[in-house]
Subunit: 172 residues, 2 copies
C-alpha cells in the first residue's frame, strides 16, 4: 500500500519560497520501515525487466536511484549540475521560471541500447525530468520508464514526458 508512505512525508510551508508547500521526503528516508518499503515498492515494479542502469538526478534522485539500483542488481548513473562531472559530458539546458538551468551526464556512462530507469524524488512541472530524458537519449539508452516517489498532479509534469512511460508511487 504505497499510500501509507504518505504519513512519512512532511509538508513544509513556504519552502523553497513563499506560497510553496514543500513535500519533504527526508522524513520518509530516515524512517527505516518507510525507506525500505519505498525502495521495495518501486523495485518490484521492475523485477524481471532487465534493467541495466538507474539514472539518478542530482541530488535527491541519487538517494532513490542508488537504493533502487542496488535492489535491482543494476548500476547507477549520475545526472549532475554543470561542472560537477569530471569527464566528457552531454549537456541539456532547460527553462526555469527565471533563466535557464543545465544538466549533464558522462558521454560514456550508458552504452547504446542499455535499458534504464530515470529516477527522482519528485515530479513537479517536469522541467528537469524533461531535460534529463533528452539528455539520456543522447547516449542511445532505452528508457524503460521515469520513476518518481511523489508526483504533484496539478502541475502536469507528465506532459513534458509525453513520449515516455511515467510512474509515481504517490500522488498529490
Amino acid at each position: 500500500m504505497p499510500e501509507k508512505l504518505k504519513k512519512s512525508i512532511r509538508d513544509v510551508p513556504n519552502f523553497p519560497k513563499k506560497g510553496i508547500l514543500f513535500k519533504d521526503i527526508t522524513t520518509l528516508c530516515k524512517d527505516k520501515v518507510s525507506f525500505q518499503r519505498m525502495v521495495d515498492l518501486l523495485g518490484h515494479r521492475y523485477v524481471g525487466k532487465k534493467i541495466d542502469l538507474i539514472v539518478g538526478i542530482e541530488a535527491r534522485g541519487f538517494v532513490v536511484g542508488a537504493a533502487l539500483a542496488y535492489k535491482l542488481g543494476a548500476g547507477v548513473v549520475l545526472v549532475r549540475k554543470p561542472g560537477k562531472l569530471p569527464h566528457k559530458t552531454h549537456k541539456e539546458s532547460y527553462k526555469l521560471e527565471y533563466g535557464t538551468d543545465t544538466v549533464e551526464i558522462h558521454k560514456d556512462s550508458i552504452k547504446k541500447g542499455q535499458r534504464v530507469i530515470i529516477a527522482d524524488d519528485l515530479l513537479a512541472t517536469g522541467g528537469t525530468a524533461g531535460a534529463v530524458v533528452k539528455l539520456v537519449k543522447k547516449t542511445g539508452a532505452k528508457i524503460v520508464e521515469c520513476a518518481f516517489i511523489v508526483e504533484l498532479d496539478d502541475l502536469n509534469g507528465r506532459k513534458k514526458l509525453k513520449n515516455e512511460k511515467v510512474f509515481s508511487l504517490l500522488h498529490y
Copy 2:
C-alpha cells in the same frame, strides 16, 4: 577482494583544478557488478551491528549512503549544503583552502542514541567529514563508524576524525 574495484575507478587529471588527479567513482557506479560488490563489501562489515541510519554526505555520499541503507535495512539521513534542507537544522562550518563551507542536518533526523554510519565516497583532507562528525554529534547519535569508498592516505584525513572509527574500502 576490494582491490579489484580499483579497476573500475577512473583517474581524471586536473579535476577539479590543475594538479589534482581525481578519483572518479562514476565508472564504478555504472558497472553493475562493481557497484553491487562495493555495496556488499561495505555492508557485510555492518551486518549484525544494529545500524539504525546511514548519514550520506551531499552529493556522492547519497549514492553510497542510500544503497548501504537499503542493504542494511536502515534508514538514510542527508547532510546537505546550506539552504537545501527545508526544516530546522543544525549547522557546522569548516575551513576550506580559501574561505569556509557549511554543512547542515535536520535537527529531528536522528534520535539520541541511534546508531549511525557516516558515509561518503572519498576521504581526502577530512575537512568535510570532520565537520559532519561534529554535526551528527549535535543530534546525540552514536557514530559507529565513518565509511568511505576511497581514502587518499597521503592527505591524512583520518587525523581530523581521530576520535572515530574510520573504514575505507580502497586506499591510494
